[in-house]
């Protein structure tokens, strides 16, 4: 087949848990699916997480087999490191123009052996670890990446050629250029996911400048067995923290930040992380400052009750300000609602801001779909058919349609696959 | 074998149904509850497949206690639990004949979320075995009597 022109039944945009699930559900019904992912590997946010609520399974243990199932499914083709430039209507279907970014590595021959990575002399901050740890300018993105193919960061490459000499299969290609691929499909699913709300948005919380104030996603990396240090330490000085506090709704439910909605996952992930920390640092004091604890899902309230029984301290209070003392210990100023609204200051070793979710990508331009004021894809029928968009044949799923945890994302993804399959059947039967 | 040292632990074999005890054991794991390591859990579809001979052989090989964690009335197999009970009853008789303490074999219905019953069974079997000792000693004693 001409590699610049591809044809399939469905195109799924975004290879996070939602996109993967939609792709699998369609492929398992016999449809041909192309999965386009902007990053060098599929996996989305979930592959970065440590363990996941409410089962406390390790996130990789759930994600990597899905990634592998996607990679091994004969009906799915992954286009990684690629982005959709434009989408045109084509009868009842679509033609999408995709830009494949250069990896500077020949995909067809690279075996993922990592010899290039070991040979590369340039260390750069590791994006997979949110720039905490270091990684080489050429590398396999992370150990469980799919596809297992190296990618070279040309911005940081010094063109020393060491990787090219190390590569046993001559796969380094410094002259690779971007490629355009045209894809003809009948239906399209948007699964572009979310971004955490920025840690530096709030002046009262130090604009991201305080040494030992991090956000929830970084804590996930610190807790992950694959993370940069494989243990929880203060980013400021590498000390093991003895007192850790969570500030809930840091970036959500806050009109001043333009995020009035509740992000829905941060209560649960904070409790989860607190439990994990209590496991790895049994002597540490853990406090969660909150307004409302929103543990609404199946098994979630029980999870919250377990955390309370474990001795994690839940304090109902509004954190007005975070500053730091001379030892770079963060100091919270908090109004204790349960104690006559008295305002106190407490010093901790480390603070985690429970940041929320906002959309990663606004698809309204390229796909012509309606989005809400925040950029989440909006369904004309949110109750009865939440994955529909205003464009017939285009569906949206997962966190691109609103904050959602993994369970809800997976159901939404299967729902999108269902709607897309019905659409495919109806256009084929000329209905 | 004439071993009398008691530094070793009694060995507990747990035959657990995929639809009941085995899933229950997984659930106990998900809850991170602790029990003793002298347990070997083997998955079975339905323990109705095991004849008296199988159980007796296991004791003779040195298994000190067997807990059959079947699915009871939750079994997906028609007639399976009943047949299991029949086989276990037959085995009790045979154990009696051979002088093997019948407390070494226990039939228990364990469901997929039965964490407490699961732990109770394991703890009770441990307690029993601590009281009655190793099966090899029991069999050796029998040998002497005869």
């Amino acid at each position: 087949m001409d590699e610049n022109k591809l044809k399939a039944d469905a195109l799924v945009v975004g290879g996070g848990i939602a996109g993967m699930q939609s792709a699998l559900d369609l492929a398992d019904q016999g449809y041909q699916v192309i999965l386009v992912e902007k990053e060098p590997s599929i996996g989305g946010k979930m592959i970065m997480l440590s363990k996941v609520f409410p089962t406390l399974d390790c996130a990789s243990c759930i994600t990597t087999p899905k990634m592998s199932a996607v990679a091994n499914n004969k009906n799915i083709r992954i286009l990684s490191y690629s982005e959709i430039q434009s989408v045109q209507k084509n009868g009842s279907g679509f033609i999408a123009n995709v830009l494949k970014k250069p990896r500077f590595v020949v995909e067809e021959t690279c075996t993922g052996c990592r010899l290039c990575e070991y040979a590369c002399p340039v260390d750069i901050p590791n994006p997979f670890d949110l720039n905490i740890g270091a990684i080489r300018a050429v590398r396999v993105p992370f150990s469980t990446a799919v596809p297992q193919i190296a990618v070279l960061d040309m911005d940081n490459c010094i063109l020393c050629g060491k990787c090219a000499r190390a590569c046993p299969v001559d796969s380094i290609d410094f002259l690779q250029t971007e490629k355009e691929v045209e894809i003809e499909v009948d239906t399209l699913i948007i699964a572009t996911g979310f971004e955490t709300t920025p840690i530096d948005a709030k002046k009262e919380y130090g604009n991201g400048k305080l040494h030992n104030v991090i956000d929830g996603l970084i804590m996930e990396r610190l807790l992950a067995p694959t993370g940069p240090y494989a243990r929880v330490i203060r980013p400021g000085d590498g000390k093991e923290p003895e007192s850790i506090a969570y500030v809930q709704c840091a970036g959500s439910r806050d009109e001043t930040l333009g995020v009035p909605y509740c992000s829905r996952i941060c209560c649960m992930y904070a409790i989860k992380q607190a439990m994990l920390i209590a496991g790895s640092l049994p002597m540490a004091d853990i406090t969660i400052y909150y307004m409302d604890i929103r543990t609404f899902g199946k098994g979630y309230e029980q999870f919250y009750q377990n955390a309370q029984a474990m001795g994690i301290e839940f304090v109902k209070g509004k954190v007005a300000k975070i500053s730091e003392d001379e030892n770079q210990n963060p100091v919270v100023r908090v109004e204790l609602i349960d104690e006559n609204s008295q305002i106190i200051e407490r010093t901790h070793d480390m603070i985690v801001l429970s940041v929320g979710m906002s959309p990663k990508y606004n698809p309204s331009q390229v796909y012509g779909v309606n989005v809400d004021e925040f950029g989440f894809v909006k369904s004309p029928t949110p109750n009865l058919s939440s994955t529909k968009t205003n464009q017939p044949g285009i569906f949206a799923t997962g966190a691109s349609t609103g904050p959602m945890d993994i369970v809800d994302s997976i159901n939404s993804a299967s729902a999108a696959a269902s709607s897309a399959a019905s659409y495919l059947e109806s256009v084929r039967n000329g209905k | 074998m004439n071993e009398t040292t008691t530094t070793k632990e009694p060995k507990i074999l747990i035959l657990a149904t995929l639809s009941g005890g085995y899933a229950g054991a997984d659930y106990v794991g998900q809850q991170h509850l602790n029990y003793t390591t002298n347990t070997s859990i083997l998955p079975v579809r339905c323990p109705s497949m095991f004849s008296t001979e199988f159980y007796i052989q296991a004791f003779e090989k040195g298994i000190d206690g067997i807990i059959v964690m079947y699915s009871g009335t939750d079994s997906p197999f028609k007639g399976g639990p009943e047949r299991t009970a029949v086989m276990v009853d037959q085995t009790y008789k045979k154990m009696g004949e051979l002088g093997i303490n019948i407390k070494r074999l226990k039939l228990a219905a364990i469901c997929t979320v039965c964490k407490k019953p699961f732990l109770k069974q394991v703890n009770e079997m441990n307690k029993t075995l601590n009281e009655i000792g190793f099966v090899q000693d029991e069999l050796a004693d029998q040998g002497k009597d005869k």
Binding site: V146, C262, K298, I337, S412, S414, S422 | S51
Partner: protein, 672 residues
Amino acid sequence: MTEKTNPKPEETKIGVYVCYCGGNISDVVDVEKVAEKMREHPNVTIARTDMSMCSDAGQSIVENDIKELGLTRVVIGACAPSLHEHTFRGTVARGGLNPYYFHHVGLREQDSWVHSNNPGGATEKAVRLMYAGIAKANLLKPLDMIKLKAERHALVIGGGVAGLRAAYDIAGRGINVTLIEKTPFLGGRMAQLETVFPTGNNAREDLHSLINEVRTHPLITIHTLSELVNIRGYIGNYDVQIRSQSRGVSGDNAEAALAACTQEVPDDFNYGLTKRKVVYRAYEGCFPSTPAVDWEHYDGKPIEIDGQKVIFENKKKTFDLRIGAIVIATGFQPYEPPRGDYGYDELPEVVTLPQFIRYMGLRDGNVGELTWKGHPVRDIAAIHCVGSRHLAGVHEPQPDGILNNYCSRVCCTATLHQVNELLDEYPNINVYDFYEDIRTYGLEHESYYTEASKNMVRFLRFHGDQRPEVAAAPEGDTHPVLVKGKDYLTNGLEIEVPVDLVILAVGMVPRPVDDLVDMMKIPKGDDRFLLEVHPKLRPVETPVPGIVLAGTAQSPMNIQESCNAASAAAAKVSVLLASGQVELDPFVAKVDLDKCTGTGDCIEVCEYEDAIVLETMTVEGNEVQRAVVTPANCSGCGNCVSACPHHAIDVQGWEVAHYEAMVDAITMEVEL
């Protein structure tokens, strides 16, 4: 693949892999040590460890080893087999081996996670279990999946919004659907709502748009007043029996019967707030529009229609269907507080939220002032978490022994939505909202909370172990009821709020479905809701192949979530039935004809029709009887195995010899 390629146990080349499981196993079990011990085993060609065996990279290692080292068996020690046994069978197959040449040993749920207090013992146990796994692997035989024709026909149980959505989506994929609804009318609980969050749309209008799509779909058949009464078979080929009751009235005499009927009973559609006739429509505009007789309450007396005395007759009929897969969408019922709890059922001024919604829906036209039982309503208290979020040691378990310790998820937003609607219409009413946490979690839900605050709803926060109390006010008080409690927004101040009406935000409990649970052998969770296999890997599937869950039968959900779950269930059904063929594990009985002498003991104990029979065949010129298994009918229970005096039967993949070998391995003394 034939048996001939099966190497003798002593010639097997086994690859053994022990997973760190990202720390889940290796934090307790000395994984490297385990691998080292494995290398001592004579049949082990290679033993490796990996951070996560199930990752693509981990799986590739296995594939390569099979190809390069010529492995003939694979044993992996990792998480529970229920999670990844299937994954690894695929890996082994891609490596070129028969997928059943693989054995999975659970080292996480049954070792590291339960022995964190004894790492040494856990490591020893891991070695023991792995040796047992190797012992079994040595004896494995190659097997092929059983391929069966699958009926492209799904059964949906429950005609609420989730069942309707599932039916429509399955039919959309070109698969036949039969939808059965127990009551005479479709729509479930959603029909009892008025406007719904987050759209503000009228619930019944939205519902009817879906019902119309369902009832006009050529592939969907609807049976109201129908229930499942029997089920046999297996995925792809379930034989189900459905019992339908008749409506009692038909098109010709229906309207007349409705008009003539005089017997009245409490109207369950309005949660007993009103009465209705025993010949009834659930509501105006319901589907089907033909009224039905309420058989449970009908007193059997004749009713005079057009001068004729008519006695309604319930003509029950049962019919059989062959079904490929089943969706359970049996829904929920609002929690009903016991008499006296929060004054419920004792004080006339205490209602549940669903009752209140009905009350508001029942008012006709614009009434100047809100009244309750004839009295003007000036002050209202809403109490959250009634029947939800109960605490062990503080609250009594329910009569069935279960503690309602879960959050019902919809009541917070539903309450605030009602309160806002009420205040839009009656801005002068004061609302006191007693809550513990406000859980307006959804994208558009928080605005209900902010709006309620703007509407001057007075929020009062209780602690879960000190819930508010409701009592009758003393004679002559300004208001009939007092709500007492501590408000932790004002330092635990004791407060007493006099009100005219108390709304209890009751939670959800599943509709009783014990009959279905028993018939289908599907599990319920600690909270009585139907239980999925795994919330992330298989969130809508039950452990019984071909039976999936949709909507609030599984857990509290709002409409959007119910519909998403229903569509997800439809996707699973489509995956199963789209090709018209299902593949089953080959774990069925197999008779060794060389050993069988035709005693027939196996047939005696087999409970499955036509699973095993004696057939006449010719052996060495003699006509003999031998047992023969029909794989599609055999459940693989193994009843026959222990019955055969000649050890001539085994369940494939689960042979007695496997267990004997595993027991040998377990009783071997291991030194670390």
